[in-house]
Symmetry: C2
Subunit: 480 residues, 2 copies
């Protein structure tokens, strides 16, 4: 047998069908995967095809691929799901109530699984690029793999030969201790490494190792629209002023961007902002294509995240030159990439999108019409809440201009007025810092599409002058 | 001249009227004070009586006394106010819009003042028990005094001889660095001391020192009601189970309680809960009377906070024996007492009250009827968001039973469904961890008063089965 850089030691190698047998019909199953990459593929697929009567609780790191959130849902195998979901099939099941979903913050999920009373975990299935008898090396995301393998006494590892072994070079796995003896994270700069490329585990727990050879379902990013570009331009102008004003940006600008096409477009547009000779640093949860371009062009000094959420082209580009990219890119466990303590320590400017915002600065990131969940709060709350400068960037309308994303009152609140500093649309920048709700409303009307401004003004007239946050509850949702 | 333990060195001693002259008519004035104690008294009063045409921005640590939030409001001297207010006169001005108020989290206020774009500070007026040429010792609260004195180049100190000099024994002043070079807080246990009893400042900034001799306006706590006691009993039962279940409470139970009569009653009732031989530790923002009783009885090992928010009797009791109490009580800057990093590190169970909660676990802490502000979010968001076990405890009704505090949809969201783990009323405990919104609604109906349960059930019927979080927006606010 030739030496293998993927499999080390005496491993319980088996096929996906047998490994799937390690998962009890009503198990709480923890999976790797974040930003739709690095999730296990063969074992979930085998579970879906097993024709067993399954009633699983599935806890992933973040968003995962179709083998979990399509195939297992279509097989009616999932009863409960945390912390995030982003595919049509699981989304439908969450909204019709056939899957019980609880929308969780990313940064605290590891603790919730380990000792928070959220679930009683049975088995973890995680993807790796290499595995030994008591360690594994994650693939394209780290997500919650470290706390998940700690929380179970049964572990199944999928070793994926389609993911480059060189991904190890990105990983910095630091393990948090348990409260109250938990120590501060010993990380003094966004690009620093304080851990190990490997995730250790109890060798007694390793129940099965399965070999696979299948790429992640890649992201697709749409081309930036004219509206995206106008938002990016307003954001760039605001940041140019802010880096001059604030002493915490004297030498560098640390940024996080939300996942998605708008976030990707805003990242790319950062290259055009004039931030002087400041170092540009990324400290967020995912590396998207826009960041690779910034790295290639030398505009970005370092990037820290938990996932390589790339398009097919982005994957090609990174996989061809993984070790070079790893010089400037660090992947961390999601409880580190999103950690409140670190977002605060590094003073990370947070830029996230939203479904809608209201005139008083509350933000809805998850629901349409108050009832219908889209995907989940994800990591947005970790950054919005803890950033010294939290920016919500969104187009002023949806539905081809038929719906205003600036409303009198949002139908679901994911980020409160206390946490949101600035709102940017293609029409302008509302700097809410230090403003009263009435002052915010005047700024936000100007950020709405002109077609909706009269109705927003009418609402404010109806709301009147009574109260710190004047509302007319009779028409707060029925306002146009 | 006899040696004086209050005044050290060559100080610019003056009277309150002259010191008030250091405050420009349109100044941004930062004041000490938190939990309604340790605020400056003589200089604000002199400003209020000055008959000058004032348009001040007043930023306090937390809540302050009548010399600021009554007298200065009645003198029409305040244009803007942060971060919290709790007296009728300022409250009326906030609600009629004559004072522009922005409701801020406590933990991040120091950063917002120093470099967040909130205000451009001019002068700080702080109360002390002693002062030197480049240091002061805070009195009954530390609040935001350290970042406030850092943020200004003009400082006025009131040395209050009615506050015992021995209060120095409580203080542990640690200064946070600036992002991105900020270090983790080197605190490894709730009762540890890592700083200094004194707050240092730039001696060039010291513009005036005024002597005063006046106690804080004391807190008044109402006697616990039968409802308070039923809530306390439900909370106690829940905690007894939880400490057995979770490994993070194996050796000790760290608790925070919100400010007010209910919080005070719940603290006192903790003495009756059977938590085995675990150490009971308080890590919160205020020391209330209930905690002194627990300390006296040996039920509490250590308490960390930023303010001694006591009744007149509590003050007597503590002032008579300050040095003994200081063996077990530490006062910290509010940015430490409420720090997300520390709430997480120590795994602090957070117990806060609320105005109302909704069937899906959103919490309103600040507004009545959507429009009318009560006092502010205070530190509740710091604890609710970062605690591994965040409990909202409240009576099921208000207005003598006429109003349900469990509603279909809250009219203002201060804490989102993502942050709230458990809701306790006198009727029961809703453990929301891991539940879908539909499951939460069923639990929360049971926590409502029986008079309102049919109307809540009717609402859920109208909301139907569509969506992850079923709502009927037409009747979400008009539901009874």
């Amino acid at each position: 047998m030739v030496p293998d850089d993927r499999l080390h030691g005496d491993l319980p190698l088996t096929d996906a069908e047998s490994a799937a047998g390690e998962v009890a019909a009503d198990a709480t199953l923890l999976t790797s995967g974040f930003g739709s990459v690095g999730y296990p593929k063969a074992v979930p697929e085998a579970l879906a095809e097993s024709r067993r009567d399954l009633a699983l609780t599935v806890v992933s790191g973040g968003s995962v691929g179709p083998e979990i959130d399509t195939a297992l849902v279509e097989a009616d195998a999932i009863d409960r799901r945390y912390p995030f979901q982003a595919r049509p099939e699981i989304n439908e099941a969450v909204n019709d109530g056939s899957v019980a979903f609880s929308d969780r913050h990313i940064s605290s999920l590891g603790d919730e699984v380990r000792f928070g009373g959220l679930v009683d975990p049975d088995v973890a299935v995680v993807e790796a690029v290499a595995v030994g008898e008591d360690w594994l090396i994650p693939s394209t995301s780290i997500g919650h793999t470290p706390p998940f393998v700690d929380a179970v006494d049964k572990l199944v590892v999928e070793v994926n030969r389609a993911q480059p072994r060189e991904l190890a070079a990105f990983h910095d796995v630091y393990r948090l201790g348990d409260p109250p003896g938990r120590e501060g994270v010993p990380l003094s700069a966004p690009g620093e490494r304080v851990g190990d490329p490997r995730v250790g585990f109890d060798p007694e727990a390793l129940a099965a190792v399965v070999e696979t050879d299948r790429r992640d379902e890649p992201y697709t990013f749409r081309e930036p629209t004219a509206v995206d570009e106008a938002i990016a331009s307003n954001l760039g102008d605001f940041l140019e002023q802010e880096v001059e004003r604030s002493p915490i940006f004297e030498e560098s600008l640390r940024m996080q961007f939300g996942v998605g096409s708008l976030g990707n477009a805003l990242m790319a547009a950062l290259a055009d902002a004039d931030v002087g000779d400041r170092d540009l640093v990324y400290f967020g949860e995912v590396i998207q294509d826009g960041l690779l371009d910034l790295l290639d062009d030398g505009d970005l000094r370092v990037a820290s995240a938990t996932s390589l959420a790339l398009s097919a082209e982005g994957q090609e580009c990174l996989f061809e030159d993984a070790e070079r990219y790893a010089e400037d890119v660090v992947l961390r466990p999601a409880e580190l990439s999103n950690r409140p303590e670190l977002v605060d320590r590094f003073g990370v400017v947070a830029v996230n999108s939203a479904v809608e915002v209201d005139l008083y600065g509350h933000v809805n990131s998850t629901h349409v019409g108050g009832s219908r969940m889209i995907s989940g709060v994800g990591g947005s709350g970790d950054f919005v809440r803890n950033s010294p400068l939290s920016i919500i960037a969104l187009p002023s309308t949806a539905g081809g201009g038929d719906v205003s994303k600036v409303r009198p009152m949002v139908t679901h609140v994911d980020h409160t007025e206390h946490d949101v500093d600035v709102i940017v649309t293609e029409h302008g920048v509302a700097d809410l810092r230090g403003t009263s709700p009435r002052e915010r409303a005047r700024q936000l009307v100007e950020c709405a599409d002109s077609a909706f401004r009269p109705a927003l003004e009418d609402y404010l007239d109806r709301a009147g002058e009574e109260g710190h946050t004047p509302h007319d509850l009779d028409s707060a949702f029925d306002w146009t």
